[in-house]
């Protein structure tokens, strides 16, 4: 059941990325180009997502178990550290040079785009490098 719910969530998420225009890097870059010919659409994507999401998270916070009986695992860390900021800035630079973040990369891959495959493989490599560095850090 959990796997089925995950599959459905992924499908709806992907449909949302396509409908909203987020899956199109040219549109994402048009939103980030404040100094050029600015397309404000993606602010509306965030507004729509947060409007629906905030209701769900209000409900989720009051529960200790999910509707399917899984433990509610919401992040509890409140620490704002260098990792959070530096990591996010590195992500933002990568996002800004190609217009792809992880979700749209996977959706564009599902559209059969060869360029998306290259992006996703490089992203997996980046995540793999992170795992290797973390593992080495834990051993020493």
């Amino acid at each position: 059941m959990i796997a089925l719910a995950s599959l459905l969530s992924g499908l709806v998420f992907g449909l949302g990325l396509i409908v909203s225009g987020m899956a199109n890097p040219a549109k994402v870059l048009g939103f980030m180009d404040l100094a050029g010919h600015w397309d404000p659409s993606l602010a509306f994507v965030m507004a729509g997502a947060i409007a629906v999401g905030s209701v769900a998270f209000l409900a989720a916070r009051r529960r200790s178990m999910s509707l399917l009986g899984a433990a509610m695992r919401l992040p509890s860390s409140r620490e704002i550290d260098r990792r959070l900021v530096v990591g996010s800035v590195v992500f933002g630079v990568g996002w800004g040079i190609a217009g792809l973040c992880p979700g749209p990369g996977l959706v564009a891959l599902g559209m059969g785009e060869a360029k998306a495959l290259v992006f996703v493989l490089a992203m997996l490599a980046g995540m793999g490098i992170f795992e290797l560095i973390e593992r080495r850090g834990r051993q020493s």
Partner: protein, 144 residues
Amino acid sequence: MSIDWNHFTPLAALAGGALIGLAAAMFVLLNGRIAGISGVLGGLLRPSKCDIGWRAAFLLGLVGAPSLYLLFAVLPRPQIDAGYGTLVLAGLLVGLGTRYGSGCTSGHGVCGLSRLSPRSFVATISFMGAGFATVFVVRHLLGI
């Protein structure tokens, strides 16, 4: 700055955003987890955990969404202007950065802001700011 009215699609953006919010809502209410795409994907690279099933299912849904969309409408083709070298660099930075920063546009941007997480607020400001700055440098300073 001038507004690009020709490409401005507020209704589609709102509707698509609502679908993304619905997906995040389903994921947390049914599975009890944050629908953070970089976290779901990155977690697959830690083979010690026995949670491969739901992770793979969620990612399969994302990759399969265009096929589902195709049943109802003509699929819009994404316009990826970046060259292959740029895409490799972008992918490496996105992979490394999202894992170090514990999240991406979905986990921090959508879910984190929805639950008023201060960490996610800082992360979102950081990656959005870096994204805006990068596009400014690339398009207006380097002129690429």
